[in-house]
């Protein structure tokens, strides 16, 4: 652990770190373009120059490893002058596009020249090198060669991470440009990441282009829910509308990346098919009712059926799209307050679900592991058992939480099972299953909900509400807590309370809280992740 001094402050860091990383520990930003922590060191932009005692020349921080006793200056006049010079070089051939550039507001070129006051004072040359402005690279990405500063982050990403090498640098000197290799398209499962690594506006996302100025958007930390990997993301949104997902770095989950499908997943979460109000089936169609009416109705039906047929006539199925908090409350409601044993978890993915050996998992649910850990996928009652009981007629009321059973169980089976059962559906969108519903309780999607998911590897990760659910929909944990209270259970004020309680049910997670989960989540110890199901 070498101890060194940066800008007059001492810091002790692990061996092997470079000076950009070491400075970060002191919250000192060494300006840089080509360095990216997820890629090999290229050292081409020369922006990260720093002064090191006993070295005659300035050194690039990205390729300088920390050593014991090193004395580094990141803001000396010599450093500032050198960085201003590099910026000036980068700007000679750069078009002045900022007003129409999508990167404006998150452009490192723009940021630094503001910082350094290089206002294109010396622009004696009229003729800039002309390159191509709108190059269609593939389904996700557009390239503007003139804005490119040739940092080679995109090519390194494609060489080193996806190993697909669609892009290359062609020509020499100031004629250099990024382009596709002949016959190639930038069409791999992770192509959108090149937009994130590009420090300027050269690579832009077709999906996000011209949709919004970034400075109008809010950012909320979250998790991608499209598969069990649980890539860490930021949701960019404004007034309840989402504009994009971008990966948020987590060394233990997704490093700096996410897949293209996950990136576009936000669109699926804000479709026209959202359910906006609690619904009760009328003579022909659904009728909107108030939450109080809907909840009262469900509670009275549960009470009535239990009195008439016993608790065993009530059953529930919960999908692996539900948060741990929802699973816990759902399971408690049915087993503890109602007293039935017929509670099943269901984690369904299409048979041919895509997956690879990098991030994408064949399990297309964010919380299969959580369901299992909470005891709902452990060879006890299965969704098939519940449906069989319904078909036999022993189950009278079925609660279905956050799962469309039609693709999961097949339409015939479902028709046979649900034909004569009273169905209560808790979900975000209309689906094949809501067709069978007598009562529909609209809940929030992941971006609208506070909660946790446990990813495929047993890492518990937090999602945070970016905005409130649309219409009268409510976060699922709130709906379940409300129902629980009506059935004689606890009134939870927040999902964090629910989490603290459920965490303490298992030795593996005892003592965990939201604040302990932080931004990167917590890995549960291998082997002992399974908690006992909530007991009666």
């Amino acid at each position: 652990m070498p101890k060194l001094e940066i800008d007059g402050r001492e810091v002790t860091v692990e061996d092997g770190l470079n000076l950009i990383q070491a400075a970060e520990r002191l919250e000192i930003e060494v300006p840089h373009y080509c360095y990216h922590p997820g890629l090999s060191i290229s050292g081409n932009c020369r922006m990260c120059l720093v002064e090191i005692e006993k070295m005659p020349k300035l050194q690039i921080a990205c390729n300088t490893r920390v050593t014991e006793g090193m004395v580094v200056k990141t803001t000396s006049p010599k450093v500032k002058a050198a960085q201003a010079a590099v910026l000036e070089f980068l700007l000679i051939n750069h078009p002045i596009d900022c007003p129409i550039c999508d990167q404006a507001g998150e452009c490192k070129l723009q940021d630094y020249y503001m910082d350094y006051g290089v206002y294109r004072s010396r622009f004696p040359l009229q003729e800039k090198v002309e390159k191509r402005k709108v190059v269609d690279l593939g389904p996700q990405v557009v390239l503007d060669q003139e804005r490119c500063i040739l940092c080679a982050r995109c090519t390194r990403f494609l060489d080193e991470v996806t190993k697909t090498s669609e892009l290359g640098i062609f020509a020499r000197g100031d004629r250099c440009y990024i382009d596709l290799f002949p016959g190639k398209r930038l069409d791999n499962l992770y192509s959108g990441n090149v937009v994130d690594v590009c420090p300027v506006g050269a690579l832009t996302s077709k999906d996000f282009r011209f949709k919004a100025r970034v400075w109008y958007l809010e950012k909320t930390e979250s998790i991608c829910t499209l598969c069990a990997n649980g890539c860490n993301i930021d949701i960019y949104h404004r007034r309840g509308q989402m504009y994009r997902f971008r990966p948020r770095s987590n060394p233990d989950v997704n490093q700096y990346w996410m897949c293209d499908e996950g990136r576009l997943w936000y669109k699926e979460l804000q479709k026209e098919s959202r359910i906006l109000r609690p619904l009760v089936r009328g003579e022909q169609d659904f009728a909107a009712v108030s939450w109080d009416d809907a909840v009262d109705r469900v509670v009275s039906r549960l009470t009535h059926i239990k009195e008439e047929h016993g608790a065993g006539a009530i059953a529930g199925i919960i999908g692996a799209k539900a948060t741990n908090e929802e699973v816990y409350l759902f399971s408690r409601l049915l087993t503890e307050h109602v007293g039935t044993e017929l509670v099943a978890g269901l984690s369904w993915s299409p048979a041919n679900a895509s997956h690879d050996d990098f991030l994408i998992k064949a399990d297309k649910n964010p919380n299969t592991h959580g369901l299992r850990a909470l005891g709902l996928l452990n060879g006890g009652v299965s969704a098939a058992d519940v449906l069989a009981a319904a078909e036999k007629g022993t189950v009278k009321v079925l609660l279905i939480f956050a799962e469309d059973l039609v693709p999961a169980c097949g339409p015939e089976k479902l028709e046979a099972a649900l034909g004569n059962v009273e169905v209560v559906v808790f979900d975000t969108d209309y689906s094949g299953t809501t067709e069978y519903a007598d009562t529909v309780l609209p809940i929030g999607t992941a971006p609208e909900t506070d909660g946790t998911f446990t990813n495929y590897a047993g890492r518990v990760q937090r999602i945070r509400p970016a905005f409130a659910p649309p219409g009268e929909a409510k976060p699922g944990w709130e709906v379940l807590s409300h129902l629980g209270v009506k059935c004689g259970g606890t009134d939870y004020l927040s999902s964090s309370e629910v989490f603290a309680e459920l965490a303490n049910k298992s030795p593996a997670s005892a003592g965990l809280t939201y604040s302990k989960l932080g931004s990167h989540g917590v890995q549960l110890p291998e082997g002992e992740q399974s908690a006992k199901p909530a007991t009666t």
Partner: protein
């Protein structure tokens, strides 16, 4: 020094043929080295000879070999840098084409010394004849057992491959060369790590210039003391001076290291063409500062040149007479670097183009006085600040031309044309 070593083909016709080379005592040095000395001892002798690299930087060869990791499990590679692309430099080509076996013998001894079993000769693509002669000589050497398996019966194996470049100056930079050999774009690598530790295919690698390697057989044959006695002790040996430009007898001159520059120009190359006056000399190829006529009483060796803020470089001596426009001359130099910058580093990629464009403008008579200081400033900002030294190679001549011939640059501004041209005629440009 009586006998020519490196340009021996001028004295012995057909020495590129193995039988002729053998009749001249060829491969005896290699035999002696391989059969009587341990690799470490060969390295010691080369180190003791003070042989310094002839590719431009003048690093002590034996010392570089000593940087190889001692117990690396990886193979060691030898790369012969035959990419010779420095302007005004054409010495390696002569050795390759006409004294081919001395290079192969040097490669054999050097490879043995560094315990390498694979050597690559990276040859400039345009050197078609050189590549052909190399292939022929290599075939001859294999046939006679000087290459291949169990050389001289000592159980040592060496394979030599010729790799032809595709035409870029930057492939001569040693790490650009390595990248190119690996089949990639010749982007020089950041150092550290240096090739001796992490080179070709990630293995320890020694890159050495053609002329450097061609000196090695004579060191083995005559001993380090003999070598050290040729010219200055700190950088001795036979040396090829490439003289081009406005002299009576341009060409290659093999002389001891440390010859006075004036003697090379006037005594050997016959002085300035047509009895004209000398205006300027670039003594080291195009990558280093230019000299004025009052600066040519300097000895052409690494250390003497450094004392006057100049360099020996490749000893590519470009002579310019009094009719030369220095703005145009610099425009040509910087056009070359603009063309050849690999484009990786911001200061070099943008700086070389910026310099060149300013020079074109100045030369066409459209420049401003501030452009001259601007070029100085741009050069300052390029220097010492990039992955390889190509940026410095553009900046150094630029600054020296401006400081040593400032009046001529200013005259282009005030007259709005080249003062050496009549009727406002401008020069022709290739963009």
């Amino acid at each position: 020094m009586s006998e020519r070593v490196l340009l021996r083909h001028l004295d012995v016709p057909n020495i590129r043929k193995l039988d002729v080379y053998l009749a001249q005592g060829g491969y005896e040095a290699a035999r002696k080295a391989l059969t009587t000395l341990k690799p470490e001892e060969v390295t010691e002798q080369v180190k003791a000879s003070n042989l310094r690299g002839r590719g431009g930087a003048g690093f002590v060869a034996g010392m570089k070999w000593g940087f190889l990791p001692k117990d690396s499990p990886k193979p060691v590679y030898l790369c012969c840098n035959a990419d010779e692309s420095e302007p005004g430099t054409f010495k390696d080509r002569a050795i390759i084409e006409w004294n081919t076996h001395i290079l192969l013998e040097g490669i054999l001894i050097a490879a043995y010394a560094i315990k390498s079993h694979t050597a690559y000769i990276y040859i400039r693509g345009e050197f078609a004849l050189g590549a052909k002669h190399l292939e022929e000589a290599i075939a001859e050497a294999y046939a006679k057992g000087f290459l291949g398996k169990n050389i001289f019966g000592i159980g040592y194996d060496l394979d030599v491959y010729v790799h032809r470049g595709a035409g870029a100056y930057i492939c001569g930079e040693e790490t650009g060369l390595i990248e190119s050999l690996e089949g990639k774009r010749a982007y020089p690598r950041i150092k550290p790590p240096f090739p001796a530790v992490y080179g070709l295919f990630g293995s320890p690698t020694i890159v050495q210039n053609v002329e450097t390697l061609s000196c090695v057989p004579s060191i083995m044959k005559n001993g380090p003391a003999w070598f050290k006695a040729i010219g200055p002790e700190t950088g001795p040996g036979p040396k090829i001076y490439c003289v081009s430009g406005h002299v009576e007898k341009p060409g290659l001159y093999e002389l001891p290291m440390g010859m006075p520059l004036r003697a090379v120009i006037y005594d050997y190359a016959g002085g300035i063409r047509g009895g004209k006056k000398l205006k300027a000399v670039m003594p080291a190829g195009s990558s280093f500062p230019v000299l004025r006529p009052d600066e040519i009483d300097v000895n052409m060796d690494f250390d003497s040149m450094r004392k006057i803020n100049a360099f020996l470089g490749t000893a590519g001596i470009i002579v310019m007479d009094e009719d030369t426009c220095m703005v145009r001359a610099l425009e040509i130099v910087d056009r070359f670097y603009h063309h050849e910058s690999c484009g990786q580093c911001s200061p070099c990629r943008e700086g070389t183009g910026w310099l060149h464009k300013l020079l074109v403008r100045l030369e066409e008579g459209n420049g401003q006085a501030e452009d001259i200081d601007l070029m100085n400033k741009i050069s300052d900002n390029m220097m010492g600040n990039t992955v390889c030294v190509l940026a410095d190679a553009a900046a150094m001549p630029t600054q020296s031309y401006i400081s040593k011939f400032r009046d001529e640059f200013l005259a282009h501004v005030t007259l709005g044309r080249c003062p050496l041209k009549k009727n406002g005629a401008t020069h022709q440009h290739a963009a």
